[in-house]
Amino acid sequence: MNLLFKLHQWFSFLGNYASYGIAYLIETIVVLAFVAISFIILIYVFRKYMARIQLRIGPNRVGKFGLLQLIADALKLMGKESILPKGRDDMAYKIAPIITMMSIMVSFIIIPYGGLYYFGNLTTTHSDITLILIFGILSIMPIGEVLGGISTRSNYAILGTLRGIAKDVSFEVPMLISVLAIVMVSSRSFVTGGSTYNSLSLAGIVTNEIIPYGIIEPLGLIVFFISMIARASYSPFDLSESDSELISGSTTEYGGMRFGLFYIGLFGMVYLGSFLVSLLYLGGYNGPVSSYFGFIFLLIKVIILVLIAFLIWLSLPRMRIDRFVQFGWKYLLPLAVINLIYAGFFVLYIR
């Protein structure tokens, strides 16, 4: 029994289609509200965590323990004057942050969240190809950055964008190959040994994932996690931002809430990437006890992964762009291919 079906039953007096429509709408709003609230909590946790690592105190002025700091920051960003650079490409300049933000938000609707005691399964999108869908949407996200970078005609932004493109090209291929290995492994059931039919949907993969795939193919886990940090532009891979060299890289000319949207987009990417890693490699909402609390298990895994990503961000210097491209093509790609071959053998012989 999932939440969507429950909502559908509540609104069934409106007729079949209308009730499904309203049920989808409400669930989408609920999921996005959850994402927004968890963003606020996560950014607060992140800032406190960062401050502790750096021997600082962190936000402690606005509200109790500085809990309202992020809301104050968001209000500040919204209240700021919108400064538009001269000689910009107007349409591209204005649409770029929205693309980045929307692609992240839409991705969160596709994620299967697992069950929570009373509400049932929280998954919104019931499709057989959510895996393809989510990586499709993720590949829209760089378009926002590229548009934002080149539309302002600032040298810093253009250099940052070029770096960003070089970075994207070098890690996306290994990332998708390691996902392919997941699909291969998940196409055979552990229990029956026969083929499964929904290995292209995230929910189907998690259902088959009785043993976390990270244990079966640790190489794939490493490649995918590194790619996710790179996707989120976190140090050591924050090449498109490079704040000490290129001011702020592709977002140099943005200010106010437009910059805020980019910031939320990149921050959300870490969160989303952690969801994907825990779904694909760490068993998702499967846990040691009954699946009533699947959502809680998923959340715990995600928070641990996010904190690991933060720790990496705070402790490593930035890689140079040519080193990163070399790293992508010389190490990540071969590792991903080895992982793929290994997955093939695993499916055929070991299982």
């Binding site: 810093y156 000490s244 060299e245 290129l246 001011i247 402790s315 210097p317």
Partner: protein, 367 residues
Amino acid sequence: MPHYTELNIGPVHPSIHGIFNFKLILNEEIIQDVKVTLGFLHRNAEKLSELNLYADNIIFFDRMNYIDAMNMELCYLMSVEKITGIEPPERAQWIRMIMVELNRLAARLVGMGSLGLDLGMLTPFFHAFKEREKIQRIFTEASGGRQEVNYFSIGGVYQDFTEKIINDIRNFIDQFKKNLEDMYNMFIHSEIFWQRNQGIGIIEPELAFDYGVTGPAIRASGIPYDVRKDAPYLFYDKVNFDIPISHQKDNFGRFMIKVEEMRQSIRIIEQSLDKINDGPFFNPQGKKSLMLRIKGNGEAFSRVESDAGEFGVYVKGDNTTKPYRVHARSPGLRNLSLLPVISKGLMIADFIAVVGGLDPVVGEVDR
């Protein structure tokens, strides 16, 4: 056909230590040429010094290398004391030596932290500045100033060391030894830090001589030149310390030299604290009531080993209460003048790292 881009780094930029302007001529990301524009912080301290009394000029030197203010004061006062004939007593010399080495630690901590920041490492910066803050507490206790201390005076120091200050320094040194190693490990255990620093900004010894480069930069090229050893001032000939050299010639070598010199500075401070004697802390000829009437005659050029290298001050007096001419030899200017030469063919990211490694302080470059 190559396509060139012009990129302005500075005068306002996150990782330029002060306000310079570097105009990079880029071919994609490779630097073809660097044009340096100076003078954004030019105050003409040399002219100002000619207009003011000998004792007043100390503050202008505080503001030259503002992160290494004690060394600047010391160098000016060494020249002034020579031409006025007011020699500081022994205790004042020891106090000066301890303060100078403490300030060297503080300056190196800034350099170390900001190099990390330039490379995208956020955390070591805060750790370094926390330690620096402890040093500045000691300065505040002794002089009342945090960064621009104005602590030394002609013929001695402004205030005597109390037991509390000596205990503070001892406590600081005890815990700093461990914290320094922690900070060092934070850098050195990162593979990316090695990748980012090795092999960039190579300074050959011949080039360093020709451009007048001194300090950590020349010691990283394998030349054991340190004014503290080669022309000892204060009591540097009475304490044991080593001059580290590196044959790597690159940014990484410079970083290692800086860290090793911090360890040597700790040794100097420990020995000085043991050897400091009782006695007067200033020469009665330079006491406050006489300060406005101090006259100098003749010319003197003295030099000290500051954070960036050999800092020298030339003072010429004409038997009045104001100096006739003051000139400062700025090590940062020499290090900067080498920058266009060593940064050809580097990438932007490396350029930032090289600037961070040379660590020019704009107050001293522009004066």
